[in-house]
C-alpha cells in the first residue's frame, strides 16, 4: 500500500482528535505515516499515533520548527515528500495547517485542496461550498495531492499500526526564519474543547440578549462537553469574544451536533456551520431560516428552553 503522510496536530504534547480522524481516513487510502513537527513529542504520543494506524512516525521535534511562522513545517513536509514519495499528504483544515499545505504545494509543485469533508477513491475530495449550497468533487491534477480535511469528517476508529519512530534531521533554512514568533499569548478559555474541532458546538446569537446571558449558553455547552460559539450579531454586540464567531468571516465548524440558540440562520452564519451532522435550533421566530436546516427545532424563548434542556441533560447523565 502506498504511504500517506499525516501532519500531526498537537498541543502541549497531546495529539489532537483531528489527527486520529485523519489517520483513520488515511487507512482507507493507503498506509498512514504520522509526521510530528515541533517540540512536545513523547512515547505516549507515539503510542497514540500507533494505536490509530500510524505505521511510521516521523519526528522532527526541535524548537526552531515552531519558532517561525508556518514555513519550517512546510520545509519539513517538502523534505519528507522528496525522500518518501508518498501518495498524498493530509493535514487538518485548520488556519495554520492550510497555510502549511499552501506553501508545501508551491515547494513540491503539487495541487492542494482545502476544507475536504471526505476523501474517497482516487484521492477525490468532497467539498461543500457556498455556505453548503453546492457539493463538489475535486482532485489534484499535478504532483502529490495535498488535502486539508475538516475536523469531524471521519469518526475515529483505532487500529494498531507499527508506529515505528524515525527521526528526521531537518535544517530550517534562513528563508523559513523570516517571521519569528517572539511570544505566545494564551487567552483563558477554560476547560472547553476547541471550537473548530469540538464534536458538539452550542452557539448563541442575537436572541441571547446580553453578555451576562451567555452564561445560559455556556451551561448548556458544559452539560454536553461542548464548545461555545456565537453568531456575528452576538460578537458585534460585544456579548462574546470575536474569536468564537461561527460564520463566513469567522470560524467554520463541522461538528456531530450543532445547537443554535437565538440565531436566525442568515447565510453569514450558515456558511460556518452547515456541514454539521445534526442541527438543533431554538428560536422564538417560527419563520427563522435556521429551522430549514434544523433536524429538531423548538419555537420558543431560549431563556426558558435552554435552561430546561440543560437540567434535563444533567438529570439523564
Amino acid at each position: 500500500m502506498s504511504e500517506i503522510l499525516v501532519l500531526v496536530e498537537h498541543v502541549e504534547g497531546q495529539v489532537k482528535k483531528v489527527t486520529l480522524e485523519l489517520l483513520t481516513l488515511a487507512r482507507t487510502l493507503g498506509t498512514p505515516s504520522a509526521v510530528w513537527a515541533g517540540p512536545g513529542y513523547s512515547a505516549e504520543a507515539q503510542a497514540k499515533l500507533a494505536e490509530h494506524g500510524a505505521e511510521k512516525v516521523y519526528v522532527a521535534d526541535s524548537a526552531d520548527i515552531s519558532d517561525y511562522v508556518v514555513a519550517p513545517k512546510a520545509e519539513l513536509l517538502a523534505q519528507l515528500v522528496s525522500e518518501k514519495s508518498p501518495a498524498a499528504v493530509l493535514v487538518a483544515a485548520t488556519a495554520e495547517a492550510k497555510e502549511i499545505a499552501g506553501r508545501l504545494a508551491i515547494k513540491i509543485d503539487s495541487g492542494v485542496l482545502t476544507d475536504a469533508v471526505g476523501v474517497g477513491d482516487g484521492l477525490v475530495a468532497d467539498q461543500s461550498i457556498f455556505g453548503g449550497g453546492v457539493n463538489v468533487h475535486s482532485r489534484v491534477t499535478k504532483g502529490t495531492p495535498i488535502i486539508a480535511v475538516r475536523p469531524n469528517a471521519t469518526p475515529v476508529e483505532a487500529a494498531a499500526g507499527a508506529g515505528t519512530e524515525e527521526r528526521v534531521s531537518v535544517t530550517v533554512s534562513d528563508a523559513a526564519r523570516a517571521a519569528r514568533v517572539v511570544e505566545r499569548v494564551k487567552e483563558e478559555k477554560g476547560a472547553r474543547p476547541e471550537l473548530t474541532e469540538a464534536a458538539i458546538v452550542v452557539s448563541g446569537g442575537r436572541g441571547v440578549g446580553s453578555a451576562e446571558n451567555f452564561a445560559v449558553i455556556e451551561r448548556l455547552a458544559d452539560s454536553l462537553g461542548a464548545a461555545v460559539g456565537a453568531s456575528r450579531a452576538a460578537t458585534d454586540a460585544g456579548w462574546y469574544p470575536h474569536q468564537f464567531q461561527v460564520g463566513q468571516t469567522g470560524k467554520t465548524v463541522s461538528p456531530q451536533l450543532y445547537i443554535a440558540a437565538g440565531i436566525s440562520g442568515a447565510i453569514q452564519h450558515r456558511a460556518g456551520m452547515q456541514t454539521a451532522k445534526t442541527i438543533v435550533a431554538v428560536n422564538k421566530d417560527p419563520e427563522a431560516p435556521i429551522f430549514e436546516l434544523a433536524d429538531f427545532g423548538v419555537v420558543g424563548d431560549l431563556h426558558q428552553v435552554v435552561p430546561q434542556l440543560t437540567d434535563e441533560i444533567s438529570k439523564r447523565k
Binding site: K98, G102, V136, A179, R184, P286, E312
Partner: protein
Amino acid sequence: MNIVVCVKQVPDTATERKLRSDDKTIDRDAADGVINELCEYAVEEALRLKEAHGGEVTVLTMGPDKASDTIRKALAMGADKAVHLVDDALHGSDALGTSYALAQTLRKIGFDLVVLGSESTDARTGVLAAMLAERLGVPQLTFANKVEVDGSAITVQRVTDYGYDRVEASLPAVVSVVEKINEPRYPSFKGIMAAKKKPVEKLGVADAEIDAAQVGLAGSWSEVADFAVAPPRAAGTVVKDEGDGGVKAADFLASKKFV
C-alpha cells in the same frame, strides 16, 4: 512605504451563488460582484499604515472587467492608484495559479508591504497570503489582528486557536488581516468623486511576465471533477414550546445518543 493591498471581487453572498455547468468555475455573471468583505479590512489597514508612516497605497486585483467596480470602491476609500490584472488567460486559475500571477505582478510593480484579507467568501481557501509569501520569499505575517510598523521592523499579532502569537519580521513582508482588526471607513462623496480620476493601470499576462501555461483552468494544479446542488436537508421536526420544549429537545438528543 509602498503598500499594495490585494482585493478580490466576489459574488454577493446574499444572492444565490452557482458554478457554471460548462467549465465548473464560479458563475460571476449570475450574482452581483462585491468587494470581498475581509478585503475592506485590508484596505482600511493599508490606509491607516499610510496615514501613520507616509507612502502610497496601490490596489491590486486580478479579475474580469467587472472587477473594476471593486477597484473603484477601494480607491473611493482612499487608496491612491490601482493595478488591474485582467486577461482571459487567467480565467479559472486555482490558488496556485492565482498566487503565481499575483506574485509576478507584485514583483513587477514593487512593494514594501502587501496586505490582504485572510480569506475570500467564494473560494474560502485561506491560503493565498501564505502562498504569496512563499513565492516572493518574504516574511509571512498572516491572520493579523494588530499590525505595527517601526522603520523596517514589522510586528503583528497572529490570531491562533489559543489566543495569539506576537510575530516579528522585517519589511518587505506579506500581511493578511482578520475581521475586527479595524472598522473599515465608508467612502465619502468626495472620495467617490476623486476615485473616478485616480489612475488604474490594466495589465495582461504578457505585461506582468506571467507564463500563460501556469494560469487559467488548463494551467491549474487541481480540478473540479463534478458538482451538484446540495439536496435540501431532510425536513426536521419543529415543535412549539408549551413549557416542555427543553424536555422535548433532550428527548431528541437522547434519541440520537448525544445524551
